[in-house]
Symmetry: C2
Subunit: 386 residues, 2 copies
């Protein structure tokens, strides 16, 4: 590995472990601010490696790769939450600035740790337990009813690692794999919300407006910013809770708090993600400061930027892989149809259902914006053809 080449003027090198789209989308604000990125990439064609001059290939599971990579960086942060605690500890012991730090990151790595901590803090969460036998599953269901939700405590994303089981039989295979599971009540929620917060090592924090996230088959497909018709007191409570979680867990960088809005007008915290998050992609075009710029500012302990929305509404639509291997030819029709559409593609190969990009639109008419975002996402997926 050669050291990343960087600009004169005292500008730091921000290292990102993982070369996915979240690392990739840090590149534009890094260019603007004169910062240098270095990415520990899964391969030379990783999404972020395609746009970053310094992108050594290595494994986040290999302590030597990670330590060697970190040596050239002024601060290290993450594209994902999968770097093992032992490796994170080694970085800290070597004097590397790691944000978020291992202690905070544990709560995004292990859902059991997260559930316990939030419960201890008095944050409303779904009823939950740790289970490792079918008897325990049935006992939980006797108390909270079927169906139940089973989750692998680590490694899940985009609906993977989550099973809704309506009977002991449906739970059997997952339980017998061993290793222990998180079990939760199936919450009859009204909709899903997300709160995005950034916090710096100095303790400064900033929150974007609360958004509504729309999921399809466990994958976020649409984000409405801000969440329509959100009662003021609920918005205030969620922002206060997100700031409290960030502060008490010692989060540094961006954190997303995923929330169920319940039928009684309350809420339950579902998940935590300690990195820029799909629910914040709208900020790239819709907020004064994007989550990617903010994440860089936070991990560098720079003052945080203004998180206000720039328009009445911003709508984000996720682009999932579909019919087309070649996406570029779709630009011609898409851009002609909607000159205000902001397209973000990740440089990833198309596989059905894979998140390969997103679009943002902003303006005053929410219904029209949703139609525009959905059309663009559907057109790029090939499910509409005009």
């Amino acid at each position: 590995m050669t050291a990343p080449r960087h600009a004169p003027g005292g500008f730091p090198v921000v290292g990102i472990i993982g070369g996915g789209q979240l690392a990739r989308m840090c590149a534009p604000p890094a260019v603007n601010l004169g910062l240098t990125l270095s990415v520990l990439a899964e391969g030379p064609d990783a999404a972020a490696a395609l746009v970053t001059p310094s992108a050594p290939v290595g494994s986040y599971l290999d302590v030597d790769d990670v330590v060697r990579f970190a040596r050239d960086c002024d601060v290290v942060t993450f594209d994902h939450e999968h770097v093992p605690q032992e490796i994170l500890q080694r970085l800290v012991e070597a004097g590397v600035e790691v944000h978020p730090g291992p202690e905070a990151l544990r709560h995004a790595q292990d859902k059991l740790v997260m559930r316990k901590r939030l419960s201890d803090m008095g944050i409303p969460v779904p009823a939950w337990a740790a289970v490792s036998s079918l008897e325990e599953v049935s006992a939980f269901a006797d108390e909270h009813g079927w169906p139940v939700v089973l989750k692998t405590p680590t490694g899940g994303y985009d609906g993977k690692g989550v099973l809704v089981a309506s009977s002991p039989d449906e739970a059997r295979e997952w339980v017998e794999r061993g290793g222990g599971l998180l079990i939760e009540e199936a919450v009859p929620f009204v909709r899903e919300l997300a709160v995005l917060v950034a916090r710096s090592p100095s303790g400064q924090a900033a929150v974007w407006p609360v958004v509504e996230t729309v999921q399809t088959d466990g994958i976020c497909t649409e984000v409405l910013a801000p969440a329509p018709d959100l009662p003021e007191e609920l918005a205030t409570a969620l922002v206060e809770r997100a700031l409290r979680i960030a502060g008490e867990l010692g989060v540094t960088g961006v954190m997303a708090v995923e929330v169920f809005q319940t039928r009684d007008g309350g809420y339950l915290v579902n998940e935590l993600a300690m990195r820029p998050h799909n629910s914040g992609h709208w900020t790239m075009d819709g907020s004064v400061t994007s989550q990617f710029e903010q994440h860089l500012r936070a991990v560098l302990d720079l003052p945080l930027g203004d998180t206000r929305a720039r328009n009445r509404w911003t709508v984000m639509g996720n682009v999932l892989g579909g019919q087309y291997r070649e996406l570029y030819p779709a630009y011609r029709h898409l851009m002609a149809r909607d000159p205000g559409l902001k397209v973000h593609l990740y440089g990833k190969g198309v596989r059905p259902g894979r998140k390969i990009g997103h679009v943002n639109v902003f303006g005053d008419d929410l219904d029209a914006l949703r139609e525009r975002a959905r059309h663009a996402a559907d057109y790029l997926q090939g499910t509409v053809t005009e």
Copy 2:
């Protein structure tokens, strides 16, 4: 040179000759759109080379360097207007898509060619002549009065290549250098304006709102978008003229038309630039489509984006090199003082008076925005310290 590595999906490689800040600022929209940039850079530390994985080093004056570079690109465009016509012709003969093409670009390379063409088109320009002797200078001054403005027809920028002469003696040295000069009347203008237009090879064109540019010692220091108190009929005339110039000259990509607003409420066209331009840096944060995204779309013959302003006002302040060698430490105070400030630094070494970056601010109160932009620029230059 190795071929630029690019994303799957039919995405093209856009080659930019020259690795300055204009090429650098194409990187963020290229990331967003999944396009691959390749930059023919002056050196490995050129502003754009620092942020572009494919940045072969070579000279724009060397036909072999340029032809070899272009071989890996689907389209070639420019960071500056200095590539010689012979080399441009060679590219065209080799079948390379070059935008803008040599014939259009001549009008931005040679001010005499430009003046003649605009005069022939009936576009208002300052009184002018080609001169190569002191007698011709004096004859021009007898008709139009002293002082006169002398310009080297090629190669000038940022006030370089321009001399205001109040007597034959002051003109002597420039005239005796030989090579011929453009002489112009010194226009008693009220202020300077700029019109930014983008045009695609298919002939689609789009114009941003007309802006006011404020110059200090021949260097643009501030841009107000849109130009305050601009009479509707003048705005309409300027937009119409800019579109006509772009069309008749066959411009492809972004072109800036620099204009004097005269005391009688009319205008005279001063300069043309055929590339993204300092007067359009406000669009990065202030318009739905930035000039850099638009330039990429135009040279690829993609449909053009919405050029509307996102706020009532956007103010751009240029950052010139000053006291500090290290700019990064200034971020702490600057970002804390103004969380809405958008900073753009170019990764260039600091030299007094050199353009090393700019800031944008947007909102409703023009005076407050001007104060914020000026403070940030002054603080980065070191002329204010708090």
